[in-house]
Amino acid sequence: MLRELKEGLAAGASAEEVVSAIFEKIKRSRLNAYNCLSEESALERAKNFDKKPWGGLLAGVPIAIKSSISTKGIETNCSSRILSGYIPPYDAHVIERLKEEGAIIIGKTNMDEFAMGTSTETSCLGPTRNPWDTDRVPGGSSGGSAAAVAAGEAPAALGSDTGGSIRCPASFCGIVGIKPTYGLVSRYGLVSYANSLEQIGPLALTVEDAALVLDVIAGHDPRDSTSAEQDRVFLPHTERYLPSLTNGVKGLTLGVPEEYFGEGVDPEVEKAVWDAISKLEDLGAAWKMVSLPHTKYALAAYYIIAMSEASSNLARFDGLRYGLRLGADQDWHTTFSEIRAAGFGPEVKRRILLGTYALSAGYYGRYYLKALKVRTLIKEDFERALSAGGADLLVTPTMPFPAFKIGERIEDPLSLYMADVFTVPINLAGVPAISVPCGFAGGLPIGLQIIGRHFDEASILRAAKAYEDATPYHEAVPKEVV
C-alpha cells in the first residue's frame, strides 16, 4: 500500500491533500489513537514536497510515531503526566532515518504509560479504542500506532516492543508488526522502559510495507552501544529486506513449539494458527513439532528484568529539568517526591516498586540474577530449536486470545501480565518476530507470530509475505473506518 502511495506521489498527487485528509480523519475519529499531532509542521513539509518533491524510500509518506520515541520539537510524553509538556531538543536515530528518506511525521500515538501495559489503558490520556470494536482494547503498549494504521489514520507507524508491545496490538488490530532482532535498530532516542529487551519496529497494513519501513530504520548507530555492527554498516537508500519478500517458503522448515498451544489458548485462535501452518505447508514449507522447555519461566523472568531496569530508568523523572511541575517548590526532596507521586500512574508505580525491591541488597541474587539465568536458558531454547538441522522459523499464536473489553482486565494485573505469555520469550531471547493477520474470532482479528534466528528478518518476511499473498485477512477493513 505504501508502494501505491509513493507511486501516486511520484506521479504528481498532492502530499498536502494526503496529509490533510489524514488529519481530517483523525479529528473525526473516536479511537483516541494520537496524544499529540504535529499538524503545522507536517502540512508545511507536505507543501514543500509538492513544490519541490524529494527522493527517498519514503518520499512524502506520512507516518505516525509512538510517543516514547523522541522527536525534536514535538512533545514526547510517553502518555505520562510526568512528561507532559516535554519537547525533546533532539531526534531519535529512527526519526533521523525517516526524515532522511523523505517521510512526514504526522503525530505521536497513544500508548500505555511508559509502555507498561498490554492494552493502552494505562495512558494518562485515556484508552485507545480498537477499530474493530470500540468497546475493546487495541492491545498495547503501542495501541495508538496499531489502531491508527488499522483505521487508516496513518499509512504506517513506529512502535516499540519490550515484551510484545508491537506484536500484541498488531494482532488485536489485524495488521502487521515486527519486533526486530535486539541490536538491529538503534534505541537512541527511545525513552527506556527495559533497555535490554526493547526494540523499535514498524506497524503497517502489509508485510511489504513493514519491510520497507524496517529497511529505513535498521542499521548500525554508534550512539547505541548495543546496536549491532557486524555486516550492518548503514548504506543509505538501499533496500535490504524488500528483495527477500519474493522468495516463497519452499525449502523452509517451520517449528511448532508444543508449549504455545493448549491450556489458556482460545480454541478459535489455536484453530486459526493451525490453519495457517497448513496453508504454509500447502505453499511448500515443511513443519515439525519442537520444544521450548523453559517457556513456563519466561513471564516471571521477563517481569523481574523489565521492572528492575524500569525502576532505574524512571528514577530520572523528578521534574527538576523538564516535565511536570506542581505549585510552589519546597525543599528538593519534598518537591521531587510530590511530583513523582502526582506524575506516575498506578501501574508505573507498581512496576517501579517491584523493580526497586528486586534490585535491593539481599534480594538481587534471588530475583534479578536468577531472572538473568532463566533468560540465558530461554535463549538457549530458541537457539536449539532454530539450530542448523532444526527449524528455520517458529510459528505460534501472537496472543492467546483476541482483543478483550476495555476495563475487563485492568483491575487484575496478573491476568493482564499473562496475556504476554507468547510474546515475552522472544524479547528475552533477542530474536526477531512478526505478527501477521491469520483470521478472525467473533469478528476480532487473530495474529500469527513467526519467529526467526538472530538477524534473519529476511526469512521471517519471506514466509509472512508468502502467507499473506495466499490469504485474504489483511484486506479486511474494520468497522470503525470512517
Binding site: 531519535a92 550512539r223 552501544s225 528514577a315 523538564y322 538481587y364
Partner: protein
Amino acid sequence: MAEKDVIIGLEVHVQLNRLRSKLFCGCSTDYHASDPNTHTCPVCLGLPGTLPVVNRRAVEYAIRVALALNCDIQGETLFYRKNYYYPDLPKAFQITQYDFPLGLGGSILIKGEDGEEKKIRITRVHMEEDPGRLVHAGTIDRAKYSMVDYNRCGMSLLEVVTEPDLRSPKEARSFLDKLRNILEYLDVFDGDLEGAMRIDSNISLTGGERAEVKNISSHKGVEKALAYEITRQRSARRRGVAQVQETRHYDELRGITVSIRTKEEAHDYRYFPEPDLVPMRIADWVPKVEAELPELPDAKRERFVAQYAIADDHARSLTSEIRVANFYEVVAKRAPPRLAAVWIADVLKGELNYRDVTIDRFSSHQMVEILDMIEKGKITEKAAVEVIRTILDHSGDPSVVDPVAVVEAKGLARAEDDAVKAAVRAAVEESAQAVADYRAGNEKAINFIVGVVMKKTRGRADPGEANRLVKEALDGI
C-alpha cells in the same frame, strides 16, 4: 609522628582531565573558565532516550594508570549503575564499576614516617562518571535555593582505593603527592584544575570502628581533616565513648568533621550491570598501552642517580614532579649535572614553593646562565640566589628575564680584588673599636669588620675571601 594505633585507608577520586571529551558523550572537558551549563548535551544531561557511549581513550588512560599502579588488569570489565537521588545526578544513577573493575591489587611506594621506603597496597582502580556540581546561594545550611551546574557531569573519574596501610595524616599526604606525581607523569591529569582530586578516607584507631570521612577536596586538605578526625576519635575514646561505624562530612571552612549517617542508615545503591553498555574485553588493549607507558618516578629517580651521579635525595626531589624532572634534564645537558641538581632541588624548588608557583615561571635557559656564572666565579652563591628571586618576583616583566642583565642592573657581579682590598683597608680604618677588641684577643670582633666590608661591596665580596683579607690586614699591622 608515626602513630601506631592509627589506621587509614583512602578512596581517591581523580578526574582524568587531560581527556578532550567526557566519558560517555562528546562534550568538551574544557569547562573550567566557562559559564555554568555550557558544556552539556542530551546525553550528559540524561535526557529521556539518550544512551552512553564509552570514550575509548578514557579507558586507555585508565589502563595506563592501573598499570602504573602495578595493578592486574582484568580481561573483561563492565559498568554498573549505582542508583541514588541527588539533583546533581540527572539520570538518578551514576555509571560506575562494581564487580569486574578495571584493575585489582596494585601498590605505590612512598617515603614512610621513618624515612624508609614503604609499600602502600592498592585494592582496586575503577572508572566512573562525575556528577554535576551544586552551587548554593549562601552557605549549605542557610541557602534559600541551590543551583546545578552540569558542566562537570560526565567527566571521567578514576577511583583509586587503598588498603588500610597508612599510619598517619602525613603518610596519607605522601601517598596523595606520589599518586598525583604518577598521574602527571602519565599525562592523564592536571592537578592544578579545580576539583581534579577528591578524597574519601576510612579512619579508625586500633580496636575501634571506622569512620568514613567524605568531601576532602584536595590533597592538601587531607592532613588537616585526618588530624582533626584522629584527635576527635582519641578524645572520644578517653571519655569512654565508643566510635560507631559512620559516615562523616569534612567541613573545610571550619576544619571539622560532622557525622551525616550511621551504618544503619547506609544507602542501598541497588547496583546492577548497565544494560546500555556492553562488557569490554580490555585484555587485548593492554600490550599496546604498556608499550607506550612513559618512565615513571621511581625508575627516573634511579636513572638520575646512575646517569648524573647525583645524591638520592636530590634525585627524589627532582623527580617528584614531572615538570621539574624534565627541567632538570634540559639543564643537566648544558651545565654540570651535580651543580644543577643542587641548585634546582635545594634552591629553585624552595623559592618556587615559597611563592606557590610552578616551574613554568622559570626557564631552563635562565638556570643554565646562572649556573655558568657561578661556575666561572662571576657571581657569589648569595648573588645567584638574588638573581633567582629577582626573576621570580618580576615574572611577566620582559626587562627582567636575562640573568646576566639582572646581575649587571643590580650590581651583583663579584667584586674585583682591588675593590675588595680597598674596602678592607677602609673598614679596618673605620672600625677602631673592633680592631682594638681583636688585638685584645677577641677573635669574634673580626666578624664586625667583615660585615663592614660586605656592606661596602654591597655583598659582591666573597665572605670567606673578605675574612681572609681582613685577618691579613690586622695581623700584618
